[in-house]
């Protein structure tokens, strides 16, 4: 046995290890490159929005200035005018009312629906569950025409309460679907233990399932919040007076007059409108991610 015979496989092993490391480095570099491109691509519009919101009308209109920086100093004029001379605060208040009501209605309906469909096996429960999801697949751009008839029939045309009625048609199916999956991932021994401990179905839901499924419920809540905060088609179709309008449509319709775009105020309005979801996401992000990846791994 010579030393050369010994070192050959050792060298090969060393080579394999270094190529593994090189492989990993390439994978990392590639991911960083694409992540940075992705981040830049998606952060440009918000950045543009923020920069423009703090510019004066004169600077926005001036063709010679660099649109990416604030050259003439930061001004809060856009916000002041937006909040004092337009209906922005009304839109904001309406949106908050609509969103809170929609989130509340959605959570009550879909938690109860998901619990019964996911845990209390009964005849037709799986067909019903699929049926609920199918209703989510019909786009709102198609649904608003028949819904118009319904909203008109119940006398809620041009009232933000009409939105409280129609938004759940978008939020309930999806939230129910998310939570059915979440409830089903909870081991059945847990409800059996609760049954033996003496819990009724309602107690089982409130004392065991809701706390255990909280990440899923928060994920569903964020979804319902986002949908109703950012909905555009329904308010566009069903609301037409300013005192009933919500943020999305209100900002656009009141700040674009014919071909005059009040860019500064539009951006200031967009910034204020985007703030609540941003704050909520920042606080609930961990829950949201936990909810979306539920069941991926055990425990």
């Amino acid at each position: 046995m010579t030393s050369a015979a010994l070192s050959a496989p050792a060298k090969r092993r060393l080579g394999a290890r270094s190529s593994l490391r090189r492989n990993r480095r390439w994978a990392l570099i590639t991911s960083y490159v694409f992540l940075v491109i992705f981040a830049i691509f998606f952060l440009i519009p918000p950045y543009y929005m923020i920069v423009t919101a703090f510019k004066s009308d004169a600077e926005v209109a001036h063709m010679a200035t660099n649109p990416w920086i604030i050259a003439d100093g930061i001004t809060l004029d856009q916000f002041r005018i937006l909040l004092t001379q337009t209906d922005f605060l009304t839109f904001f208040k309406n949106t908050v009312i609509v969103t809170l009501c929609v989130v509340a209605i959605t959570m009550v309906v879909s938690v109860l629906a998901a619990f019964s469909l996911g845990r209390m096996k009964f005849w037709g429960s799986s067909v019903l569950a699929t049926g609920i999801f199918l209703t989510y697949l019909v786009p709102d751009t198609l649904l608003f025409i028949p819904l118009f008839q319904i909203v008109k029939a119940v006398g809620l045309l041009n009232s933000y309460w009409g939105m409280v009625l129609v938004y759940p048609t978008l939020t309930v199916p999806f939230c129910t679907w998310i939570m059915i999956g979440y409830f089903q991932s909870i081991p059945k021994e847990l409800d059996e233990a609760a049954l033996i401990d003496g819990a009724s179905h309602m107690q089982m839901l409130t004392k065991i399932f809701i706390p255990v499924a909280l990440p899923g419920i928060i994920a569903a809540m964020i979804f319902a919040f986002t949908v109703s905060w950012a909905a555009f088609v329904y308010p566009m179709a069903f609301l037409y007076s300013a005192d009933q309008q919500v943020l999305t449509v209100g900002t656009v319709t009141s700040l674009i007059r014919a071909d005059v775009y009040k860019w500064g105020m539009l951006m200031a309005g967009a910034l204020l409108a985007a703030a609540p979801p941003l704050v909520i996401y920042a606080f609930l992000m961990d829950y949201y991610i936990a909810g979306l990846t539920a069941g991926a791994t055990k425990g």
Partner: protein
């Protein structure tokens, strides 16, 4: 405290009969273990007693009362599950007190009971922890605590040790036995592990294919199995089943297992097996009764030479495997006397512990 009785209990899932008309009487405070291979209906039986499965036919009595239509919470039972089924968002204390809280027990009574159970189970310092922060064994203790605090008529255990590693399983087994001695309560325990069954039970119920094969004390089950299934299921390694021909040998009998080997039936058993003379039967002999020739009073006629196929040293003893007439047979010999594979070894069959099985009915004769 109560007795449990099952009368002609049947459970059918659609077309499949999971439990076939079983009868079982469990007196007050007895520890009964239902044991059998997976799918034998033992868990279903337990779940029917718990009220988690409906009974298709027959009656279940707890404390002399038919409970067929009572929901689980009104049966006054407590159950420990295989995967613990602890509420993940509650601390150990809250887990244990949940049932009492739902039954509106006063706060100080709840505290007294939980503390008492925690003392019995040695988990007093873990009461503030959530299940996530507990080890498997600790979780199972909390699950047992949840059962104990309720002070139920019947404890039900559904394979409670299957999720634990081997060492912890042995520890918890002793723990369960100790708890049962301290908290005397009628207990029904389901397991597929025959060692658990033998060590824990006052009486063992061996189930197979939805029916009860035999109900007996562990000792009885081991020494007097009623069927081939029980004989093969209880004991590890399993009993050897060897085809044999019962031959008349003067006044005595001999079990011929091959051209060369024929073992004499002890005089004490001759009368019992006499009617089966001349028949092809199955000789049941446990590995521990196939040893190297040991005692001075051994019967030379029961010795024979074989060639070893496989040798498994276990430390305390050595398992030897050999083939007779195409049938693999296992013996259990002293490590000092074991030979290597391929070598010839002399073995002694202790025929006083023999069983004879009718291959047609699988009944032990």
């Amino acid at each position: 405290m109560a007795e449990v009785a099952l009368r002609n209990v049947v459970k059918r899932f659609d077309e499949v009969e999971a439990v076939r008309s079983i009868n079982l009487d469990i007196p007050d405070n007895e520890f009964v273990v239902l044991v059998g291979p997976s799918g034998c209906g033992k868990s279903t039986t337990l779940r029917m007693i718990a009220g988690l499965e409906e009974v298709t036919a027959g009656d279940i009595y707890i404390g002399g009362e038919i409970v067929n239509d009572l929901p689980p919470k009104d049966r006054d039972i407590a159950m420990v599950f295989q995967n613990y089924a602890l509420y993940p968002h509650m601390t150990a204390f809250e887990n244990m007190s949940f049932g009492l809280k739902l039954r509106r027990f006063p706060k100080d009574e709840i505290k007294r009971r939980v503390d008492n159970a925690a003392r019995i189970l040695d988990i007093a310092e873990l009461l503030d922890r959530k299940p996530k922060a507990l080890s498997g064994g600790q979780r199972q203790r909390v699950a047992m605590g949840r059962a104990i605090v309720r002070n139920p008529k019947v404890f039900l255990f559904d394979e409670p040790l299957s999720n634990l590693d081997a060492k912890l399983r042995v520890q918890m087994r002793t723990e369960i036995k100790r708890v049962h001695q301290m908290v005397k309560t009628t207990t029904v325990y389901v397991t597929h592990d025959q060692v658990e069954a033998m060590t824990l039970a006052d009486r063992v119920v061996v189930m197979n294919g939805g029916a009860i094969e035999q109900i007996a004390s562990p000792h009885d089950l081991y020494h007097n199995p009623k069927t081939r299934f029980v004989a093969g299921f209880i004991g590890s390694p399993a009993m050897n089943f060897i085809r044999c021909h019962m031959e008349q040998n003067g006044a005595g009998l001999r079990a011929r297992i091959s051209d060369k080997i024929s073992l004499p039936v002890p005089a004490s058993l001759t009368a019992r097996y006499q009617p089966h003379s001349g028949k092809a039967l199955i000789l049941g002999l446990r590995p521990e009764h196939l040893t190297e020739p040991r005692r001075s009073d051994r019967d030379q006629n029961c010795e024979f030479d074989i060639t070893l196929d496989v040798v498994e040293p276990m430390g305390m003893e050595t398992m030897v495997y050999f083939t007779v007439d195409g049938q693999e047979i296992c013996g259990r010999v002293d490590p000092g006397s074991a030979k290597g594979p391929g070598e010839v070894m002399r073995l002694h069959a202790n025929m006083n512990h023999m069983h004879l099985i009718d291959p047609q009915t699988d009944a032990v004769l």
